[in-house]
Symmetry: C2
Subunit: 420 residues, 2 copies
């Protein structure tokens, strides 16, 4: 992409309302734009990151047998009345059709997916199965804050699994746990993300959250160094400040962001909707369920909270909007500038042909200082500069965003260095 054409604009400051680091940096660097409190547009740079996160999630959920579907956002009232959540959940946006119908905007999809599954799969032979979607949800939060971490409109991956017995649910639940760690590793949050025991509500002793440790976190968790798991503060009372797994009392308090959660719903929804299956013995038995969520914007926000410095964002390679930020710097000498421009453009084209995604800062009237500042703010993992100094050596200055050291690399070696 030519930066001169890219729809973005960096800014030094954003509204004082945006207190979180992720909203500040993503807005300043031109990744997102706030439409209103808790509702953001993803601009071209932000959309690229969003898509990469989406694809990572899709790959890992497909790998555990999830079948992708797309359920509506507009829900009829009836299934929500069946579970009692129509009246109970103040955060559900509601709207009335000119034809008289009452609709709600989905903030989760148990009320939709359970009757759907019931309509299609009813024999023990059909089980287990798992359906998921990557879809926009709406939640009328009383207070929105923290940028992409808690909004009124947000994309979620929600997976629902259906089983004939608890052992089968338990097995699948463990598989999804592993898939989640793969996802968090790939987006760059693996090292700081802990499986965290949280309240299980009425149906299980515990549910599990995936909590990413960062000072920006809204949750308090207690880490067990031995088990590499954590306990959410909300249940620390009952576990007496000790690790729920090994009993270790030497827990470390940390702030954390919940980036995912998994939950054994058991018969909570299947009972409400009368979802049974016919077993081998011909008898009708209760289907049981698990549900598994990840918020895409929330992951993006958490990554920025974890990976930034005073100059800007530092994207983990697998979700960076581009692999390389290629920058041409002018010398002031016209004939030399033509050479710089040609070399840079040739490199831009040859890297792209090799499948490397390049943002090329081709802008003519922007100073070197501004180009470098913007590059740090945007945070692409590798920066390549071609300038007077490098072009005479047929080289480019190669610098990783997360390193202070730059090195001169021959232009014809760059692709190999990047792909290696």
């Amino acid at each position: 992409m030519l930066q001169s054409k890219l729809f973005y604009k960096t800014s030094k400051e954003v509204s004082v309302e945006e207190k979180s680091v992720n909203a500040q940096l993503l807005t300043r660097a031109g990744f997102i734009d706030k439409l209103m409190a808790g509702v953001y547009t993803f601009l071209p740079l932000g959309f690229k990151v969003y898509k990469k996160i989406e694809n990572i999630i899709r790959e890992e959920i497909n790998a555990v047998g999830g079948q992708e579907i797309l359920m509506p956002a507009l829900h009829p009232k009836e299934p929500w009345e069946t579970t009692g959540r129509w009246a109970a959940v103040r955060e559900m946006f509601k709207t009335k059709s000119q034809t008289g119908g009452d609709y709600g905007l989905g903030w989760t999809h148990e009320e939709i997916v359970t009757p759907l599954a019931k309509k299609f799969f009813n024999s023990y032979k059909d089980f287990p199965f798992a359906l998921y979607q990557i879809q926009t949800k709406f939640r009328d939060e009383l207070r929105v804050k923290s940028g992409l971490l808690r909004g009124r409109e947000f994309a979620m991956k929600d997976l629902y699994s259906f089983h004939t017995n608890e052992k089968d649910l338990d097995n699948y639940y463990e598989k999804v746990k592993e898939a989640y760690f793969k996802i968090f590793n790939r987006v760059g949050l693996g090292q700081r993300t802990y499986l965290t025991f949280a309240s299980g509500g009425a149906f299980s002793k515990y549910s599990h959250e995936f909590q990413t440790v960062t000072p920006a976190g809204e949750d308090i968790i207690y880490l067990c160094d031995k088990c590499k798991i954590a306990v959410n503060k909300e249940i620390i009372g009952e576990s007496k400040e000790s690790c729920v797994q090994c009993g270790n009392k030497n827990l470390k308090e940390e702030k954390a962001i919940e980036v995912g959660n998994i939950f054994k719903l058991k018969d909570k929804f299947t009972k409400a909707f009368g979802y049974n299956f016919k077993d081998k013995d011909g008898k009708e038995k209760q289907v049981i369920m698990g549900c598994y969520g990840i918020g895409l914007g929330r992951v993006m926000g958490a990554v920025v909270e974890v990976y930034h410095d005073k100059d800007g964002i530092i994207w983990p390679p697998e979700i960076a909007p581009y692999n390389v930020h290629l920058i041409a710097l002018k010398s002031g000498d016209d004939s030399l500038d033509k050479k710089i421009e040609k070399k840079t453009f040739d490199l831009y084209e040859s890297l792209q042909k090799k499948g490397i995604e390049v943002l090329y800062d081709d802008r003519q009237e922007v100073s070197a200082g501004v180009k470098l500042k913007e590059s740090d703010l945007i945070g692409i993992p590798v920066r390549l500069i071609i300038s007077e100094k490098t072009v005479v050596k047929d080289s480019a200055e190669f610098k990783k965003r997360d390193s202070k050291d730059a090195e001169l690399v021959k232009i014809n070696k760059i692709a190999k260095l990047l792909n290696g």
Copy 2:
């Protein structure tokens, strides 16, 4: 995909409310499920088709320089009041936040994208540029009908282009026209889709629709055989029943489905939002706009209206849910059946390794008759059968969905036949 695991169920009949062929067939074959009037879930088979249409559109819009973004569905009231469309459009769903705000659900995005563009690009050097999204829209239709052709919730690709002068808008408009024909060719509708002159409203003499000729169409168009264009009935009065391009009076009346539309908005929205640019001469001038829509579900519905027979859907290859439907038929002889199963499974694996998408009907207790009926209903372009008759010749029966003729093909030649 193993058909025994696929989340679908075929049915012989659907609700009498579903009068359209596309809703009937897509529901009966397990591609979509109706949640309520005008609101559908895309099931795994339908979601695959949806994604293929989405990717075709994305590729062709990227090729004309569209930059992909993602704008919210939840809109504040203010920009809609600026254009006067908050009160005027009864089809806009509205909701009230518990915090007091009035929100609308977007049925189009001029009110959002114009202020966004204004915030970022203001110099003549920034122009032209084009932003698009593939996003869910909501429209409170008084009457929903025709399955995926007219719903209350639907996915749209909406592209908006911004220009400094009419000539530039005209040029880009022509480019998008070409991109649209590429899209409709790739989804299989090219032969039957006509550029159609429609009412331009207050801003242009004409807008352009892309109309696909089919008896299921809600619109009436008049085809000019000479120009290969059409005129919408709504403007035939003013054009005196003659071709608006060549004056030909010998027009043919046809029913058609509008699968896309493109529109020169000119200054309609940029004026309302005071969107100017600074020109070379330092003066502020009016930005002008074009907008370009395609409904994804509508394309899918139109394809089914065009491509089906009494037995089911006949998917055009580029948007079929799978490339091949591989079916194992039992012989009744256990040892032969093992051989059939092994051969079929090996072929399944080897085709997939070659990048061919295969739905393998591996179901044990389903009769040959049901398997073949379902295969016709689902409509994958190529059907491969391995049975007693074929396995002894190391072959499979190869049949295209749109042909009556089947041929025996050696198993080791199949991949080449499919990829060639």
